[in-house]
């Protein structure tokens, strides 16, 4: 329970007026908590005094479930369901960890396809992040423009593996299917078409005067605070820290491609404000497109299932694999015993870690700013609660 405080105000006529802080519950059923997050907010009028996030409404014991499979491969559908708007990234992260544990070398073609899928997934996830952020700001239209293009990405995924949201596509040692023949052409088409939408939404939302007024200098997350709270992804880069696992801890073949790490510069206000975090996401999509275009152009031939092990029984030990997900550093720590199932799996969920900073950056903001800050953190409750 949070404490509220009483204040007394003297009026000009000498009377004493009493004001009181108010506790309101934002969520778990609230339009802008992006799922079932419950925020206990202490408000002094419109000013936020304190925020306490309450988690666990979507807790599904995934980490525990993973210990009771009949094989390591069976964990993959579970990790899909953690961050359900970026399932490919989750699979990728788990597979990177598992392959480290099992010491499997995968063919180059698999790496390329994984990179293409991960970057498409990053775009799809950022589209939701920016779109719903727009809704939080009261702009409904950009959301639908972005969803139209997200649909094209989902079609590409559907074409490849039959599923639109939860794929079970990236397997340990390979992929469940090779890409279909028309995939390359369709991806190229998407890359060309999508650039138009990106420019359009820049005009409509990101450089809109009202939008800038609402987001600049709001929810400032300073560099040192971001590092102290172990924020990652666009949260960290928005605060001006030049750190991206794809470049600084290259886990597949990212170092083969030419692309830039986007860092927030505080163009419209202060470094690390809500606008910076949002624009980092927007610009990252351009970089993802660059990576996809290069990967598609130089896609090598090969058998994607060549390295898929028939039976997985690792040598006892542990491994930590991490990837740069759309929300930040997504890591899986696997402890293996002499068995076909993992002894323990721990997920380092970026949304969970990023959410922890909300109390620090939203004190003193207004209620509307709190919604903006929530939107800019880009949480997915499936991943926060697991």
């Amino acid at each position: 329970m949070t404490e509220t405080h009483l204040h007394a105000i003297k009026t000009s006529t000498g009377r004493t007026l009493r004001t009181e802080e108010m506790v309101v519950n934002m969520g778990p059923q609230h339009p802008s908590t992006h799922g079932v997050l419950r925020l206990e907010v202490v408000l002094d009028g419109e000013i936020v005094v304190d925020v306490i996030p309450h988690l666990g409404y979507l807790h599904r014991c995934f980490e525990k479930h993973c210990e009771h499979m009949t094989s390591y491969q069976q964990v993959i559908p579970y990790v899909d369901r953690m961050d359900y708007v970026a399932a490919m990234t989750n699979e990728h992260a788990f597979v990177v960890a598992a392959e480290k544990l099992l010491k499997i070398e995968v063919p180059e073609r698999v790496h390329y396809i994984r990179i293409i899928m991960a970057e498409l997934q990053r775009i799809a996830s950022h589209l939701i992040a920016i779109g719903t952020f727009g809704i939080d700001m009261g702009a409904f239209t950009p959301f639908l423009y972005y969803f139209r293009d997200r649909e094209k990405i989902l079609e590409l995924f559907e074409m490849t593996c039959g599923a639109r949201l939860l794929y079970n596509y990236i397997w340990i040692g390979g992929l469940s299917h090779d890409i279909p023949p028309q995939f390359v052409e369709r991806t190229k088409e998407f890359c060309t078409d999508f650039k138009k939408t990106l420019k359009e939404v820049n005009d409509l939302l990101n450089y809109n005067e009202i939008f800038i007024k609402r987001t600049a200098n709001v929810g400032i997350l300073p560099k040192d605070l971001a590092i102290n709270y172990a924020c990652s992804g666009p949260m960290l880069r928005g605060s001006g820290v030049d750190f991206d696992l794809r470049r600084d801890d290259p886990y597949t073949l990212y170092n083969k491609f030419e692309w830039d790490v986007i860092v927030g510069k505080g163009e419209m206000g202060t470094v690390g404000d809500v606008w910076d975090r949002n624009i980092v996401r927007q610009r990252e999509m351009w970089e993802s497109l660059r990576i996809i275009e290069q990967a598609i152009a130089t896609l090598p031939e090969g058998d994607v299932q060549k390295a898929v092990p028939k039976r997985i029984r690792p040598v006892p030990g542990d491994a930590y694999g991490r990837v740069e997900g759309p929300r930040g550093e997504l890591g899986f720590y696997i402890v293996a015993e002499d068995s076909v199932t993992p002894y323990r799996i721990k997920a380092r969920a970026p949304a969970f870690v990023n959410l922890s900073v909300i109390n620090e950056i939203s004190k003193g903001a207004m209620l509307a700013d709190l919604v903006a800050i929530m939107g800019s953190i880009d949480i997915v409750l499936g991943e926060v609660d697991r």
Binding site: V24, P31, S32, M137, G138, A139, T141, N208, K213, V371
Partner: protein, 347 residues
């Protein structure tokens, strides 16, 4: 038959029947506008909207209305029952009463009083009381938030809005809305937005100030009807639904109806003040009682369209920015315009 005619000729009956005309208009207009808004929003957003019920879904608003009629009418246990029930009707009464002085056509105005626009401003202020009542009676923190926001917002924006109206009244020298309209008769060149029916020098001097007043009134009217970018009282992503969070069924429908009626009301005020009311833009061509009603509704609907267009394009302002716009931008500009218009009218 004669009995019926005699009955209809009773002054009291005639008055009631005349008073029903705006009500019928509001009901039909609301159905059309709900459909219109959904379709416009959909086409702005690259969608189709209703397509199933009837041709391109034209009877969907009726289906929606029937659905709302059937809904359970929930009153929260701890709500102030009397105020809770009264609030939506009060909001609607405020809006409906304002339609009394609306010059729908050269041949029809509910009440041709000399205080026309003054009465209109006063009557439409009743809406605030209803909204506050709804927020308080719901016994819900979000509703209360929405109600307080809307009260603060509507009261603040009434000031630049009324100042803009004052400027216009100074030019016309009357508050009678029918007279205002008649003074702009004779074609598009006589509309006040282009300087009104005055000698050329005065017209040129008036034009910039009229344009500024038009913008000021347009913005404050948007704030008064709680539309984006000023839709804070019912900011969905912040306040769930604002003051009508706890309302359901027919009471919610009445709020909805009042909101749409209000939208037309403020658009109609803009039309009467700056765009010649029911007068035809082509002088005597296409003018007459029926044509003038057509022009009035058409012009009103174009401003309703403008509102819808903006709503589905722009993000929302924040509370402090909203107040800033009202008190530090619109009000000083409106005051300045009034002084300037005073000089122009004296000279």
């Amino acid at each position: 038959m004669e009995n019926i005619l005699a009955f209809l000729n009773e002054p009291a009956v005639t008055m009631v029947l005349l008073a029903l005309i705006p009500l019928v208009f509001i009901l039909v207009y609301a159905l059309v506008t709900i459909y219109f808004e959904m379709k416009v929003a959909a086409h702005i957003q690259n969608r189709l909207a209703y397509m199933e019920t009837g041709w391109h879904g034209v009877i969907q608003p009726i289906a929606d209305m029937l659905k709302l009629l059937q809904k359970e009418d929930i009153i929260p246990t701890d709500a102030d029952k009397f105020l809770f029930i009264l609030a939506p009707y009060l909001v609607f009464i405020g809006t409906y009463a304002s339609f009394a002085v609306m010059p729908f056509s050269s041949g029809f105005i509910g009440s041709n009083i000399d205080l026309g626009i003054f009465y209109l401003v006063a009557a439409s202020s009743l809406v605030v009381v209803g909204l506050l009542m709804a927020g308080w009676a719901s016994n819900n923190k979000w509703s209360m938030f929405g109600a307080l926001r809307s009260a603060a917002q509507i009261v603040s924006y009434e000031i630049p809005g009324v100042l803009a109206i004052l400027g216009v009244v100074m030019v016309f020298g009357t508050m009678n809305m029918q007279t205002m309209t008649q003074m702009q008769d004779g074609g598009i060149q006589n509309w006040l937005i282009i300087g009104g029916n005055f000698p050329l020098g005065q017209k040129l001097a008036l034009f910039p100030f009229m344009f500024i007043l038009f913008i000021i009134y347009l913005l404050s009217s948007m704030a008064e009807v709680n539309r984006t970018p000023f839709d804070l009282p019912e900011a969905e992503s912040e306040l769930v639904q604002g003051y009508n969070t706890e309302y359901s069924g027919m009471k919610f429908a009445i709020f909805y109806l009042a909101e749409y009626a209000n939208l037309f009301l403020v658009s109609a005020i803009v039309v009467v003040m700056f765009f010649g009311g029911w007068t035809s833009p082509f002088g005597s061509f296409m003018s007459g009682t029926v044509w003038s009603a057509f022009w009035f509704v058409l012009k009103g609907m174009s401003f309703v369209f403008l509102n819808i267009w903006l709503r589905w394009t722009l993000p929302r302002l924040r509370v402090d920015q909203l107040m800033y716009v009202s008190w530090k931008v619109l009000t000083p500009f409106a005051l300045f315009c009034i002084i300037a218009i005073g000089f122009i009218m004296v000279i």
